[in-house]
């Protein structure tokens, strides 16, 4: 199943290429500009790149979770692929798992590229790699869980894609794509703390400076992950 889904994805690379190229390219370009690597007093001694690297890493994750994951599964549902599969002894969990595994592995490869290439051109490595990976995994779980809820519940691929895009922009705003979290007014930052994207980006940022992500953020991510995956399984429908 996994092999078969991977083959299909490879033959239909459009969505994934778009989701992946932009942020990966952006992080490499930003990292290669010395001014952006330089610490800035307005950001509390951090450089723009250090602020944006976690945001861009999560940008890819959010795009993959909100667009690529629901896109494939809702289209399968719309076309009757899922209904056909239901007549076989195979469990739907296998298909969901195959899709999750694929999307997650693409996201991890992108994350690795976005960490390694900038480091090679002169930026910093994350100073707390264990915390960084922990934050990434929990964040991925929360985001993919939300993506799976979309993928489980919609019959129409276009509606799912629309809602996915909307969620994407909301989540990216709260993650600080347009207004970095240190610059947010405190009430907005508090809201952001309780969203999966905001807490994931903050955890990744903390870890890249050698701190441990805050317990609050990790708990927020884990709760989103648990709730979203349970909801996705409950909402799953074949047709």
């Amino acid at each position: 199943m996994l092999v078969s889904e991977a083959r299909l994805l490879a033959r239909n690379p459009g969505v994934v290429i778009w989701t992946v190229i932009l942020p990966v390219a952006a992080s490499i370009v930003l990292a290669s500009i010395p001014a952006i690597r330089a610490p800035s007093t307005s950001l509390g001694g951090l450089s723009y790149f250090q602020i944006y690297q976690p945001i861009l890493i999560f940008f890819t994750m959010t795009l993959l979770a909100m667009q690529a994951l629901p896109d494939v599964l809702t289209r399968y549902r719309e076309m009757g692929v899922l209904k056909r599969l239901r007549t076989t002894p195979v469990s739907p969990a296998l298909l969901l798992f195959a899709q999750l595994a694929l999307i997650l592995s693409i996201a991890i490869v992108c994350m690795a590229v976005m960490v390694v290439v900038p480091a090679l051109v002169g930026s910093d490595w994350p100073r707390n790699p264990v915390g960084f990976v922990l934050a990434y995994v929990l964040g991925a779980w929360a985001m993919l869980g939300i993506g799976l809820v979309l993928a489980s519940s919609f019959h129409n691929a276009k509606v799912a894609a629309g809602l996915g895009s909307f969620l994407f922009f909301v989540l990216q705003f709260l993650a600080g794509l347009w207004l970095p979290r240190p610059n947010m007014p405190s009430w907005l930052r508090h809201i952001s703390d309780f969203t999966p994207s905001g807490s994931a980006v903050q955890s990744l940022t903390d870890a890249s400076f050698g701190h441990w992500p805050s317990t609050l953020h990790l708990i927020v991510l884990a709760v989103w992950g648990v709730l979203a995956s349970r909801l996705a399984v409950r909402l799953f429908s074949w047709e």
Binding site: M1, S4, R7, L8, R11, N12, Y76, M79, G80, V81, K83, R84, R86, T87, T88, P89, V90, W238
Partner: protein
Amino acid sequence: MSVIEVAGLRKAYGERIVVDDVSFSVEQGEIFGVLGPNGAGKTTMVECIGGLRQRDGGTIHVAGMDPAEEGVAFRNALGIQLQESRLPDKMRVGEALELYASFYPRPHAPDDLLERLGLGEQRDTYFAKLSGGQKQRLSVALALVGNPKVAILDELTTGLDPAARHDVWDLLEELRSTGVTLLLVSHFMEEAERLCDRVIVVDRGRIIAADTPEGLAANVVADQRMSFVPSESFDPAILESLPDVHAVVSSGERVTVTGTDNVASAVIIALHERGISVGRLRVDQPSLDDAFVALTGASDAARRAARPAAR
């Protein structure tokens, strides 16, 4: 031993009753036809049997299992070809069959099935590039790849050209010898006549007839029809006065007469007495098609008659 047993099956979508108190049973190795006009509830019925829909009432057993529980053993025992189902566009024929074969404990060899269904040359073709008939045959192949005890085939030859249709029928006849039980949904009478051991006719969610295809055709009061080219022209009144004749129509030189079972001999004798011979004679047996039209037409007429009374 009954492989499929359905008793008092009911299914409604909201207020609309789609399947109403349907009962029948299918024996091991039988090819059983479910016939009926479009919208009669055939697909809903077989989807309940296949465990794809929750029934509202009645009991169903397939190979001793209740489809509503949707166990793995049930899915292993039953293959379903659905009317409207597709595969991902970029999946190749051979890959699809191998993927589905991997779901079952004792699958049929994919290559053999492809050859038998005439898809050998398409094994590397993308699903999106297949013709309608090829998609249909692939769908049959997917239903059979798990070596099921029971296979449900919904409108399987719809959209196939005559040659492809006969290929599929040949395959099903071969399958019969392997002991697999087939539930065939169709609105195509020739298919039922050729393949089915027994059929039920469904209209508006109810069974309106159950018999062998021949029995069904014979029991319906349908006129016998004969047509011929007479050696010289004659007055149609000669034939119309015969008790066995119901109607006489001539078009060009050919004359068509409908009437009772005895119409053919009555007409030939009457004309012979007047020195007229009968050339290029053709006599049509009432077919399952006629039976089907008569049955579903009759239930239409009954409904029309019942409606004003209900008001």
